[in-house]
Each structure stands twice: as structure tokens, then as C-alpha cells.
Amino acid sequence: MPADRSGELITDTADPGIPVVVVLGCGETGPVGADLRSIPEMVLVAIEAALHDADMAWDDIDATVTASVDLVDGLTASGVAVTEVVGAVLRPETRIAADGLAAAIHATHQLSAGAYRTVLVVAHGKASMAPYWDLTAWAVDPVMLQPLGVDFLTIAALQARLLAGTDTTVMHRWAELVADRRGAAGGGIAGPVTVDDVLGSIEVATPIRAQMCAPLGDGACAVVLGVPRSGSLEGTVLISGTGHDLSPHYPGDGNLSEWAGLRRACSRAYAAAGIDDPETAFVVAEPSCLFPHEETLFVEATRIGRSTTVSPDGGLFAGTAPVAAGLSRLVRAVRAVAGRPGRRALAHGTWGPAGQGQAVAVVEAR
């Protein structure tokens, strides 16, 4: 829908003076195993899809927030590669070096602040460029952890092991979860698997097996957010609450048994969205889980209930691109509630080892 540029801002009844933020359009590429387009070419396709979805033109965009990570792109100041294709020449652009959902949250702050009326949020990642887990070694404490050879995968495995405890059936349940998720996606970018395939795949870090990991690929994602003026919110999807959080870094501090950061992020988002009972609040949740054990952590931290469908189209287990992951979850969450007034969905993004960085957004159809 075109952004109406005249009239009064529609403000949130809970907090007068703060305009509501709506999702105006979404676009995605992939994810695919390897996208042979350049990063700017790939990003451009996602943006054009988002503008088309929003029925908006480039001139309707006031500002851009991009998410990219230099070491993932193998490029210094990686934002520079996309500045031109995100339409930021002689315009405001902010670059967040974290998951794309965090970029979207920053965009909602810009909009609530009254700085802009429409913001384009863009995230991209290409796991085909370099071995992703090797890169993550350069994101852990270089004094106490990195010399030992520790990366995000190692820490995720310790976390999985901790959660498994003495439960002898857990591996089977995790394998079932992965098979189900990939089945829901028609196999996704890595194809369908059976429980036996998962359990028979090679161990990459006990207890995590190769086929348990969400398959990493290439993709870009774009979302147009805005503050609507005048008229009715009917038919729109609002971002009614957001939260993000950074936990302490060192994995031995007792922070591996839960996603406490996500719990804090959710309490901020739920408060803003006026959600008292998360157990019944959402029709769909779209977590950014790379491993099956993370879904357990996600469900506990978000306190979602059985009435919430988790990852109806397979989630990241269908395939995912680094950095773009969380923004693509926002897209799925929006699509899950669009045209279903009163329904809410929860989008989630994470970065860092064992979920150290967390972001969450509540979307709500009107």
C-alpha cells in the first residue's frame, strides 16, 4: 500500500505521541545453496520485490537501514557494496553489523522517533563465500577462547549437550524435528531427510550431527516499514513490539542452559505490544534456530504455547542465509498474519555464540 504522506500520524493508544509502525512490503531472494549473482545484484532483486509488494516507488523511501557483516562478506566496510543499490546515494543510510532483524528494530526506532516516515531495511549474507563456522572463530574472546579453537559451532554443541543431559531419547526427537521441518519445506535447499538420515549423518561436534544443522546458503531480504498517516489501520500489519539484547560473552558463566537474553528481549517486546499471556498470543512463531536444541530454548524463553505453530514452512531448517535470517523471519511472520485481523506472530533473530545477541519482533494484523 502506498504510504499516505499527509494527515496526522496515527499514534499508539498505549503510548500517545509514539506513532505506530507498519510493514508496508516484503521481498526476499533464496535462500539458495550458492547464488552466482554479485551481492548488489542479489540485494537489488529483494528490494524490487519489497517495493512491488508495497506498491511503492524508490522516491517513497526516506531512509535505509542495512545489515551486513564485513567478515561474512570478506569486504571492509561491507555496507559500501550495497549503498548504491539500496538507493542510499545522497540519502540517509544506517548500517547495523548484526542480524537483519536487529536492523529492522533500529528502523522502527527511527520511525517512532519521528526521524523518517518510511524506512527500507535490507539484509544479505552469502554462506557460499567462505566456511561460516571458521569465520565465527574471529568473533569469540581472542584471549580466553579463540586460541583453543573454539567457534560458534563448538559452543552450540556444548549447549546442546547440556540440554540433552541424561535424556536418551532426545537425539531421536531432535532428528524428528529436523525431518519434520525440512518436510514442511518440501526439503528446502538441502532436500528432504528421514530421521535415520539425520541420526546416521556424521557428527560435527557431539551431539550435533551434520544433518541437524540448518543448511546455510545465500540470500537477501528487504522490508519496507513506515508510519501511516490518517485513515484506518485496517488491513495493515503492525510491528507492535520489539526487543533486543546482548548477554555476557563467556560461555561457562552458567548462561548456556537458557536463552536469558531472548527472555529479556521478549519481556520488552511483550510490554510494548501489551501481551500479558504469550502462551495464547501468537498464531505463528518464526524462530532463527540453526539447531534443533535451540527450538527448546526458544519456546522456553518466549513462553509461547501449544496454540502457536512454530516455523510452518520449515524455519531455518529449510535453508538460511547468515545475517538475512532474522529479517526473513519477519517476512514470514508478516505473511502468516496478513489479512487475518487480530492475529499476532513472533519473529526472531540471533547472532553470536549460543544466542548471545537476540532480537524479537511482535507483528499484529489489523
Binding site: R37, S38, W58, G74, V89, S128, P142
Partner: protein
Amino acid sequence: MIDPTDEPLSVSLDMDLTWRYAAGDAMTRFLEDVGRGRLEASRCDVCGRRYLPPRPFCGMCRVRIDGWVAVEDTGVLEAWTVVHLPIRDGRTGEMRPSPYGMGLIHLDGADTSLNHYLDTAEPERLTIGARVRAVWRRDRRGAMDDILHFEVLS
């Protein structure tokens, strides 16, 4: 409490990472042409700007670009310097010999300019506005350094 030490320690770590960069349609076409000793710029149909490096999108008009236009390997020197600071070559990882000349060259037929090396055999001839020409490598492989450097025309 254990005695504090004033000895500051540090930890050295070696980075050895490799990426595979997809050039994409526009840059691939351009570099393949360079390998054949030809230069082409992307041309925006709306504003007419002829862009080097080539790109998929005109940031001024915010439209896709798919036009191409031939560019000469001669042009005008817009800016020049002689760099005395040794620098690591981004592709080989080796230090590059210095001093060396660098220029911004407005190629005939383009609307942006090309940053490239300059022949510094006769440094007094490096002046803004000088006519220059590309000196091509014989063993070209489709990369920007298929042009060795630019030399000032007499």
C-alpha cells in the same frame, strides 16, 4: 589476594581465510572484455551517465542499468600522485614496490574516471590535464591489472 603484575601480555593469532566472490553479470561482462583488451562502461538510459566500474543500478536515477557503451583506452589525467608509502597488495598479500604512480583517468567516452597506476619514468610529465593511454599486458586474464599502467602521451 594474589600480587598484581604489571606485565602486559598479548595473544597473537593468525588469520587465514579465503572467500569466493561472485562478480555478477555486469562485472563479469566487463572483466571478460578487459581480457580481450576492450573497455566498456554501463550506461544509464535515464541520465545517460556512462559508469566505470560497471554496475547494475544507477544510484542517481535509481533505475536498473543494462546498456553498454564502448570506452577508449585513452583519456585525460584528472589527478595524480606518486605514492612513497609501501602498501600490501590486496590480491597477493605481498608488499608492493614503492614509489609508484597513481592516477584518476577520465577515459574518452566515460562519465566517471578510472583509478589506476601511472608510468613514473618521467615524473615531470605527470600534470593534470595530460593525455594518457593504457599500456596493456600481453598475458591478459580478465582482471583490472590486465592494464599495467597508464602512460602520458607525447
